[in-house]
C-alpha cells in the first residue's frame, strides 16, 4: 500500500494501481473514451487528465496510465485539469462533430455543441479494439495502419486482417462509438465485412459462436471441439 492524496483526501492505494482506479473508487468522476479496466491503458484520448505534483510543480498527466506512488499528490478538479480536458474534448468534437459519444463528452466538459440531432459513428482511434484483439484475444487481426516513418496520416485507420480474425466480436464489444459493427443473422456473423459461419449448439441447436473462434480455442487450449460445440447455457 502507498499513501496518496487525491483532492485533499488522504488514501491508501494498492501498489501498482493507477490514479484513475483510485479516483473512481472514491466515486470521483473522471471522463474517458479509450479506457477499459481489462486492457493496458493507452492514454490516447487524454480526457482523463489530472494534475500531479512533481518536483514541487503541478503537471498534467493521464490518470489511466499513471501508477500511484508513495506521497503522490493529485488534483482531479482544478481549473487547469478542466481546461485540458475541455481542450481535448473540443479537438475531438472539431474532428468528429457527428459522433454521438464525442458530442456528449464535449457537452459534458463545457464545449459548445450544436443542437442538431445527428448520430454518427466515426472511428476516433482510441485503439480499444486493437488492444482487445492483441492482448485479450491474442490474434492481432486489428492494427493501426500507417505507423512508423513515412507515415502520412491524413486519416489514420485501423487495418483489418481477415486471415487472422476469428470473429469473436471483442472489438465490437469495446468500441465506444459504434464504429465497429457486428451483425449476427441465423447461422452467419458479419464483422469488418468478413462473413463467419456460426456453430449451432449440439444440445439446444441455437447459433452461439463462430466456428473459427471455437477452432481457435481448441488449438490454443486443447479443449475438445465436441465440448466447445455446446453453448454456455447448455454446458
Amino acid at each position: 500500500m502507498v499513501n496518496i492524496i487525491i483532492d485533499g483526501r488522504k488514501i491508501k492505494a494498492k501498489e501498482g494501481s493507477t490514479i484513475l482506479k483510485n479516483a473512481r473508487e472514491l466515486k470521483i468522476d473522471i471522463p474517458t473514451l479509450c479506457h477499459h479496466d481489462e486492457l493496458t491503458p493507452a492514454a490516447a484520448c487524454r480526457l482523463c487528465a489530472v494534475e500531479v505534483k512533481t518536483n514541487g510543480k503541478w503537471k498534467i498527466t493521464a490518470s489511466c496510465d499513471t501508477v500511484a506512488e508513495q506521497g503522490m499528490e493529485i488534483k482531479t478538479d482544478s481549473d487547469k485539469v478542466k481546461e485540458n480536458r475541455r481542450l481535448a474534448a473540443q479537438l475531438l468534437y472539431y474532428k468528429y462533430p457527428s459522433t454521438a459519444v464525442v458530442r456528449d463528452m464535449a457537452r459534458r466538459l463545457g464545449v459548445e455543441v450544436s443542437d442538431e440531432k445527428i448520430d454518427g459513428h466515426d472511428c476516433i482511434l482510441c485503439g480499444l479494439c486493437v488492444r482487445a484483439c492483441g492482448e485479450v484475444v491474442d490474434v492481432s487481426a486489428l492494427r493501426f495502419r500507417d505507423r512508423g516513418p513515412g507515415r502520412d496520416i491524413d486519416e489514420p485507420e485501423i487495418e483489418f486482417d481477415p486471415a487472422l480474425c476469428i470473429g469473436c466480436g471483442a472489438c465490437a464489444y469495446v468500441c465506444p462509438t459504434g464504429y465497429v459493427k457486428m451483425e449476427s443473422v441465423d447461422n452467419k456473423r458479419i464483422i469488418w465485412d468478413k462473413v463467419f459461419k456460426m456453430q449451432a449448439c449440439s444440445v439446444c441447436g441455437s447459433y452461439f459462436a463462430p466456428l473459427d473462434q471455437l477452432e481457435y480455442i481448441n488449438k490454443k487450449t486443447g479443449a475438445p471441439l465436441s465440448r466447445l460445440s455446446i453453448c454456455m447455457s447448455c454446458r
Partner: protein
C-alpha cells in the same frame, strides 16, 4: 553563430529586429544543422537569420511535417496540429481574425501539457513563438495586406537515441512499429541501416540506451532487446529475404574481409546493383562477430542466417581466401573497379612482459584463443587461467574459460574497476559466473619450465594522474612484485590490424598505429579506387561502428563509380537533442525483464544466456518509448 534576426531557441528570446522585443538583443549559442539557412523552425523554437524570411510559410510547412511525425493515437497532438493547419490555411486565404491567434496559443499550451509523448510535448513551441513574436505578420495576412511567399523547405528528423547510435538508426520509428505489432515493418526499417539485426540485437554495446531520455527517470528503454525481438520474430517465421537490386550494374567491387564492415558495404553495394565479391581469410564469414564473440552471447546460427541472407541477395563470399600479398594491379586485372579493405584488427597487442615472445606452451593471445575454439579447436581445460586485460575481449575469454571447465579463472587488470572499459552487464555476468577480478596489478614476466607456462610474475600498481584517455594512469609500485601460479596466461589487452603485405607501386598508407589511413568522410585511401573502413582503420571498435562505416563506404564507392561527389550531410552536433521546453510528467515504469539462464546451468555449456523478449513483452517495452522525435524545417538562403 552571431547574426540572427530573431531566436526563441530553447525558450531563450534573442530579438535583434528593429522594434522587436526590448532588451533581448544578442547572439544565440546553437549551431544549425546545415549552412546558409535563412530561417528554421525546430522542436525547440525558431531561429531566424534573414529578417525578410516568411515565418508564416515556414511554420505552416513545419506543421505539415509535424503532422507526419504525430503517431495520431493521442487525441490532442494529431487533432491539435490539424486545427492549427486549418487556422493558418484559413488565414492564407484571407480569412480568420485576431481571435484565432489566441486559439493557436491555447492549443499549443494544451497540446504541450497534455500530449502522451515527448514529440507532442515539444513539437508545437515554434508555432506559439511565431504567433507571439510575429503577430504583426499574421495580422497583416488576416487583413489582406500581405501575401505568403512560396519557398522550398527542407526538413530533418532525429532523436537523442538516434543521434547516439553510430549507424543513426530510426530508433523511435522501429519501436513504434513494434508497439503496433508490426514486427515485419520494424525489421525492414532496422535493415535499412543495420543489415545484421539479430547480431547487433544481441552483441551491441547500445550507446543509444545511454542517451535515452528515460535513463535519468527510471530506466532506459531496452532498445537492443527490441531490435533483437524484431529479428527473432522474423527468424521464427522462417526468415524473410533481403531486398535485392532493382537493376543490375556491370561494375565489380571487391571487399576484403567479411566482418560487419565488409558485409554491410557488400550488401548495400549489391542493393545498388553492383557485382560484389568478398574475400575472407577464415573458413567462416563474419569477422569478429564470428570469431571474437562467443556463442553464449551470439549463437552462430543467428550470424550464419544473416550472412546467408546477404549471400542470397547475390553477394559472393569466397572463404579461406587469405590475401597475404595485396596487389591492387592484380585485383584490377580481375575486373574490380573498386576495392574495400575491411580486414579488421585480429592481432593481439603485446603486454610488455618478459618472456612473452618465447612461444611458451600455455601462453595464448586472447583473440587467438577465442578464434581457435570458435573455429572448432579443442581446448584442454586446466586448473587455472589468468586473463590479462579489462575490456570485453578479456571478459569473453574469461567467461569462455569458465564454460570450458577451468577450475579457476582470474582476470588481472592494471587499473581499478571504475576504469574497466568492459560493459557493466558483462562484468556483472562474469562475477556471477565465478570469475575472480584482481585490480591494480600487471604482469612483468611469464614464468616457464621446459617451455611450459608455470606462473606469471606481477607487480602491484597505483593510480596516478589522468592520462590522455582521461583515466588515471597506473604506476608500478616499486618492490611489490609477486607470483601467481598458473599453467595458462591469456593476454587480452587490445588488438591491431593484421594487414596484408602491399605489393606493387601503389602502397596504401599506414598510420603510426598500424592502421590504414582513410579519409574520415569518404573512406578513400591514398590509392585511387581503394577504400578502407572498420577496425583496420579505427583500431578495435564496436560492431555497430564497423557496420556503419560499411554502410557509408557503400555510398562513397557508389558515388566514386558514378563519378559524383559525396553530398554534404546534415549534422545535429551543435544542437542538444536531449533538451526540450516542456518535460511534462512521466510516470515511472521499469523496463521489461528479460529471461537469463540460471548461473549454475549457464557455466555448463555455451548456450545463449539471454532469452530475448516474446511478442507481448516487446510490445509492452515499446510502450515505454517517449518518442523524443526532434523535427526541424528550414528555408535555405539565396
Amino acid at each position: 553563430m552571431s547574426a540572427v534576426s530573431f531566436s526563441s531557441w530553447n525558450g531563450k528570446i534573442v530579438d535583434n529586429r528593429k522594434g522587436g522585443a526590448k532588451n533581448v538583443a544578442g547572439s544565440v549559442d546553437v549551431e544549425l544543422p546545415v549552412e546558409n539557412i535563412s530561417a528554421l523552425a525546430g522542436w525547440n523554437g525558431l531561429v531566424v537569420i534573414d529578417p525578410d524570411a516568411d515565418i508564416i510559410s515556414l511554420i505552416t510547412n513545419y506543421l505539415k511535417e509535424a503532422r507526419k511525425l504525430s503517431c495520431g493515437e493521442c487525441s490532442v497532438c494529431r487533432l491539435g496540429i490539424d486545427r492549427l493547419l486549418d487556422i493558418f490555411g484559413k488565414m492564407a486565404e484571407g480569412g480568420g481574425s485576431g481571435k484565432d491567434l489566441s486559439e493557436v496559443q491555447q492549443i499549443v499550451k494544451g497540446v504541450s501539457a497534455n500530449s502522451r509523448c515527448n514529440f507532442g510535448r515539444s513539437a508545437l513551441f515554434p508555432a506559439l513563438d511565431a504567433v507571439k513574436y510575429y503577430r504583426s505578420d499574421f495580422m497583416a495576412l488576416i487583413k489582406g495586406e500581405k501575401k505568403l511567399k512560396t519557398k522550398e523547405y527542407s526538413s530533418a528528423v532525429t532523436a537523442p537515441c538516434a543521434e547516439a547510435c553510430p549507424a543513426g538508426l530510426d530508433i523511435p520509428g522501429y519501436i513504434e512499429l513494434i508497439r503496433n505489432y508490426r514486427f515485419e515493418e520494424s525489421l525492414d526499417l532496422i535493415r535499412e541501416r543495420c543489415i545484421l539485426p539479430g547480431v547487433i540485437g544481441r552483441a551491441c554495446l547500445h550507446p543509444c540506451e545511454e542517451a535515452c531520455v528515460r535513463k535519468d527517470m527510471d530506466e532506459s528503454l531496452s532498445i537492443r532487446l527490441l531490435k533483437r525481438a524484431a529479428a527473432d520474430y522474423d527468424l521464427k517465421k522462417g526468415g524473410s529475404p533481403l531486398a535485392g537490386p532493382s537493376r543490375e550494374k556491370e561494375e565489380k567491387v571487391a571487399v576484403i574481409g567479411s566482418g560487419p564492415a565488409g558485409l554491410a558495404a557488400a550488401y548495400n553495394l549489391r542493393l545498388t546493383g553492383y557485382q560484389v565479391v568478398i574475400y575472407e581469410s577464415l573458413p567462416h564469414a563474419g569477422g569478429m562477430a564470428a570469431v571474437g564473440i562467443p556463442d553464449y552471447r551470439l549463437p552462430k546460427n543467428i550470424l550464419n542466417h544473416e550472412i546467408d541472407l546477404i549471400r542470397r541477395a547475390g553477394v559472393e563470399i569466397k572463404l579461406n581466401s587469405k590475401i597475404e600479398k595485396l596487389s591492387l594491379k592484380e585485383l584490377k586485372k580481375k575486373g574490380y573497379k573498386a576495392i574495400f579493405l575491411a580486414v579488421g584488427a585480429h592481432a593481439g597487442n603485446r603486454i610488455g612482459a618478459e618472456g612473452e615472445d618465447k612461444g611458451y606452451e600455455g601462453l595464448v593471445d586472447g583473440v587467438e584463443f577465442l578464434r581457435n575454439f570458435s573455429l572448432g579447436e579443442k581446448v584442454q581445460p586446466q586448473k587455472k587461467a589468468v586473463i590479462v586485460g579489462g575490456g570485453n575481449a578479456a571478459l569473453d575469454c574469461a567467461r569462455s574459460c569458465v564454460r570450458l571447465g577451468f577450475n579457476e579463472v582470474d582476470i588481472i587488470y592494471r587499473r581499478s574497476r571504475t576504469e574497466m572499459p568492459a560493459s557493466d552487464e558483462e562484468i556483472e555476468a562474469a562475477e556471477n559466473e565465478g570469475v575472480k577480478f584482481n585490480f591494480l596489478m600487471t604482469p612483468v614476466k611469464i614464468l616457464a619450465k621446459n617451455g611450459r607456462v608455470r606462473g606469471v610474475e606481477c607487480v602491484k600498481m597505483e593510480l596516478g594522474e589522468p592520462d590522455e584517455s582521461g583515466r588515471r594512469r597506473p604506476v608500478p609500485v616499486k618492490g611489490s612484485e609477486f607470483t601467481i601460479d598458473t599453467t595458462m596466461v591469456v593476454p587480452a589487452i587490445g588488438q591491431s590490424p593484421d594487414l596484408p603485405v602491399m605489393t606493387g607501386k601503389d602502397k596504401v598508407e599506414i598510420t603510426d598505429w598500424g592502421t590504414i589511413k582513410a579519409d574520415p568522410v569518404n573512406y578513400k585511401t591514398n590509392v585511387d579506387g581503394v577504400f578502407a573502413g572498420g577496425d583496420c582503420v579505427t583500431g578495435p571498435a564496436t560492431l555497430i561502428e564497423a557496420l556503419d562505416m560499411g554502410n557509408k563506404v557503400a555510398g562513397s564507392i557508389d558515388c566514386y563509380l558514378k563519378g559524383e561527389g559525396l553530398s554534404e550531410g546534415i549534422s545535429f552536433d551543435g544542437m542538444n537533442t536531449g533538451e526540450q521546453r516542456e518535460e511534462g510528467f512521466i510516470a515511472g515504469k521499469a523496463a521489461e525483464k528479460v529471461g537469463l539462464i540460471d548461473v549454475d546451468k549457464r557455466c555448463e555449456s555455451f548456450a545463449e544466456v539471454e532469452s530475448g523478449y516474446g511478442i507481448h513483452e516487446a510490445v509492452k517495452e515499446a510502450q515505454r518509448c517517449l518518442r523524443c522525435y526532434r523535427l526541424m524545417v528550414w528555408e535555405q538562403a539565396g
